[in-house]
């Protein structure tokens, strides 16, 4: 599989090249973006307008704006005019504040057929900017596999055919890094974006963004995981993107006030050093620190989101995973991140698949991987999760969707909806690690039942109903997708606010917009519909902001400053919110406050909502939730927590359950919960300035200043 680097070097053939003078970064922007059309090999520079900076800020905002202009309402994900836009954002690339090296990727998704965005670490976004480009916009489709090289040192871009096998992402990263580096030290100056065979064979392809780990001497990878962006990438016949930039310094982003950034950065770095070990242990376990508390509070998805905990959960506990991670390494996915959460398992010997017997580095498992691939499929085996994690990454398939897909297939199997004949012999019962591993290989390689599973839950439901006579209503209840995207891994049944945080989202049920489970369910800080709606306004807007700037969400609330409990709104972490305002101002020289911060997000958030609308989505019906996310679908589910549910019938619904049949109890519970979800939609839409059908009102878009004629047209057509 591995090709010799020399052969690869000899095979390079430029289809197009473009020399440019690297624009200086000024206050977080270069003012230029790079447009590449791989159908006709056009390469050109575009100017960033002041209006783009004011309204769309950067990152996901720039991506959405370019995509809007690049596609038509009828464009679908595999049309040549679909684009992949990668942009960091004005703050992206500073090294003094943790979590400041993210890239945002935007495209039309094969899963949702609508707009997708994904936030990813690795060095690509910052190096792209320091090479002169605030964003990279790729349109068109190549005839044969190509690699796009951006040499920020020399100011040269080439589109090339290279003899490289694009099927295993970790090798693509490794080999291209080797190809471009002049020596070992030079490797840290390179970042590769690639997908893998999963990008060719599934709808859930991801993009891996590499970052070179100097100590381990390996190109590690972070994932733009959600929504099949890697599928678009491979459909365009892109094997990889490569950027090289060698002069990184703490001043590369050329901020207006570097001293303010350093002061703020040192302050939070000290907090991390002082409190992380007693708070969330991000530096020891990363996001997998959530495994134990989620299980303890009945929030860990188990058996396709039926339950929230499992007696065997210790097999994947936070501490079990901690013991597998190499400790005391600066595991930042961007230079200088003191939160250092991207943990890795070193020297892991693979037991299956094309790399069987090899010892590899596995990035993760993070919480989502352990919860989704493990708990949700009833597999509480760390070795399985680590191996599955490795193969998902190198095939280039989304661990979150994969977990939810396999869990769904297992429940269908256990209900007799599918059987061994359909699965090609795979016994997909909950807990069967061997069958699950085989299914991952099939998905990644485009074989057997994997060809069905890799289409995603929404299409699986259709196939099972149409071809195997399954009850579509039952599939709708248990198939954990909304808008076509698979749910991420939290049990939301007992948190109405989180149900909204999942399904009333722009791109689909990913928890990056709002994570309100504890605030709502445990702390009971959102007892009224109005309070839930306020949270479902504030948090999605606040968290959208990270994606405009090139920032990571984690250092916001995965480290908590001293005295936070005494503030008016501890859940907002007011001191850290102010840090972000200070840093934005220190980078750009602008003078925003916390209110303007939310306005910046509101503009982009509403624009994205209207973009959905323009593509034929973005209305109330698309915010509906599968019932599995709202309440107990089956008798066994009800019975497993009957004390809780009976109590709710009595106290919340005023119904005496003692003489009721279980069917009636489920029915009454469902009517109540679905009713509350509908009410929540009304109240949230009102708070967001939308109509009852979930469409931003004209006065809202005017007030936000996004009332471009085309935008107004789309809204008017749908009112």
């Amino acid at each position: 599989m591995a090709k010799s680097i020399e052969d690869m070097r000899k095979s390079r053939r430029a289809l197009a090249s473009y020399d440019y003078d690297q624009a200086e970064v000024e206050k977080g922007y270069t003012g230029k973006t790079l447009y590449i059309n791989i159908s006709d090999n056009t390469i050109k520079s575009k100017n960033v307008t002041e209006q783009m900076k004011d309204i769309f800020i950067g990152g996901k905002g720039f991506g959405l704006w370019y995509l809007w202009n690049g596609v038509k309402p009828e464009t679908r994900w595999n049309d040549p005019e679909n684009e992949i836009v990668i942009s960091s954002g004005p703050i992206g690339g500073i090294t003094q504040y943790p979590g400041s090296g993210k890239s945002l990727v935007v495209t039309l998704s094969p899963l949702t057929n609508s707009v997708m965005d994904s936030n990813v670490g690795g060095f690509f976004g910052p190096y792209l900017k320091f090479s002169g480009w605030d964003a990279l916009e790729i349109q068109g489709k190549a005839e044969k596999d190509i690699v796009i090289f951006i040499d920020g040192d020399k100011g040269k871009i080439t589109i090339e055919e290279v003899d490289i096998d694009p099927t295993a992402s970790h090798l693509v990263s490794e080999q291209l890094t080797e190809l471009l580096a002049e020596n070992e030290k030079d490797k840290k100056n390179i970042s590769i974006v690639s997908s893998g065979s999963g990008g060719e064979n599934t709808n859930i392809g991801i993009l891996n963004f590499s970052f070179y780990d100097l100590r381990r001497k390996v190109a590690r990878m972070k994932q733009a995981g959600r929504g099949g962006i890697g599928t678009v990438f491979r459909d365009k016949k892109i094997a990889a993107l490569a950027v090289k930039f060698s002069n990184l310094s703490g001043r590369s982003n050329n901020p207006a006030d570097p001293s303010k950034i350093a002061k703020t950065g040192v302050k939070i770095t000290r907090e991390i050093n002082k409190f992380d070990d007693e708070q969330f242990r991000m530096r020891q376990i990363g996001t997998a620190n959530l495994m134990t508390p989620m299980n303890d509070y009945d929030l860990l998805p188990v058996h396709n989101f039926k339950y929230g905990s499992h007696p065997d959960a210790a097999g994947l506990s936070s501490d079990t995973l901690r013991d597998r991670f190499t400790q005391n390494m600066p595991d930042g996915c961007w230079v200088g991140c003191a939160l250092s959460c991207c943990k890795a398992v070193d020297n892991f010997e693979l037991k299956t698949g094309p790399f069987k017997g090899e010892k590899v580095l596995v990035d993760g498992p993070e919480y989502e991987n352990a919860a989704g691939l493990g708990a949700n499929c009833g597999i509480f085996d760390a070795n399985y999760v680590i191996e599955a994690n490795f193969y998902c990454d190198t095939y280039g398939i989304d661990t979150i969707s994969t977990g939810t897909i396999i869990a769904f297939a297992m429940e269908c199997y256990e209900n007799g909806i599918i059987n061994k004949e359909i699965t090609g012999g795979l016994e997909l019962t909950f807990g069967n690690a061997d069958a699950a591993m085989e299914l991952i290989h099939q998905m990644g390689q485009g074989k057997g039942f994997g060809k069905i599973a890799s289409q995603g839950v929404r299409r699986m439901k259709k196939i099972f109903a149409e071809e195997y006579d399954a009850d579509p209503a039952f599939l709708q209840d248990i198939g954990m997708e909304n808008k076509g995207l698979e749910y991420s891994q939290y049990q939301a049944k007992e948190s109405l606010a989180q149900q909204g945080g999942y399904a009333m989202t722009n791109k689909g049920p990913q928890h990056d917009e709002a994570w309100l489970i504890f605030m709502d369910m445990v702390n009971n800080q959102l007892p009224t519909f109005e309070k839930k709606a306020e949270a479902l306004h504030y948090f999605p807007m606040f968290r959208t902001w990270f994606g405009l700037q090139g920032l990571c969400k984690l250092p916001w609330n995965d480290i908590v400053p001293e005295g936070n409990a005494q503030t008016d709104s501890p859940e907002k972490i007011p001191e850290h919110v102010q840090n972000y305002v200070d840093i934005f101002n220190a980078v750009t020289g602008k003078k925003i406050d916390q209110d303007e911060m939310i306005r910046q997000s509101e503009r982009v958030y509403n624009f994205q909502r209207i973009f959905n609308l323009r593509l034929g989505f973005g209305t109330r019906e698309h915010d509906a939730s599968p019932y599995r996310a709202l309440g107990p679908v089956t008798e066994e589910e009800y019975e497993s927590r009957s004390e809780r549910y009976d109590k709710q019938l009595k106290e919340d619904l005023g119904i005496d359950p003692t003489e009721m049949s279980i069917t009636d109890k489920i029915k009454e519970m469902r009517k109540y919960r679905e009713g509350r979800y509908e009410t929540l939609m009304d109240v949230v839409y009102e708070r967001r300035g939308w109509t009852k059908n979930g469409i931003p009102k004209l006065e809202k878009i005017k007030e936000l200043g996004i009332d471009f004629p085309e935008v107004v047209d789309v809204v008017k057509k749908n009112l």
Binding site: L290, D296, Y490, F518, Q525, V560
Partner: protein
């Protein structure tokens, strides 16, 4: 009765913050406890008795995804 995170909970003779958290199954390591508005330090949980009719907040400081 006492109120814990907005919900009515049976009061018991001699209940301390520590015992209440146990009773509620609140095992998370970072919880800020207020009894009638006053923050009770973790070091005092074992000793601090909760009077009947108290309003208790046990805010879990968890960041989540």
């Amino acid at each position: 009765m006492i109120e814990v995170n907005g919900k009515q909970v049976e009061w018991e003779e001699g209940i301390t913050v520590e015992k209440l958290l146990k009773k509620m199954n609140y095992t998370f390591p970072k919880i800020v406890v207020r009894v009638d508005g006053k923050v009770i330090e973790k070091s005092d949980w074992e000793e601090h008795h909760i009077p009947d009719q108290s309003v208790v907040q046990a805010h879990h400081l968890i960041a989540g995804g």
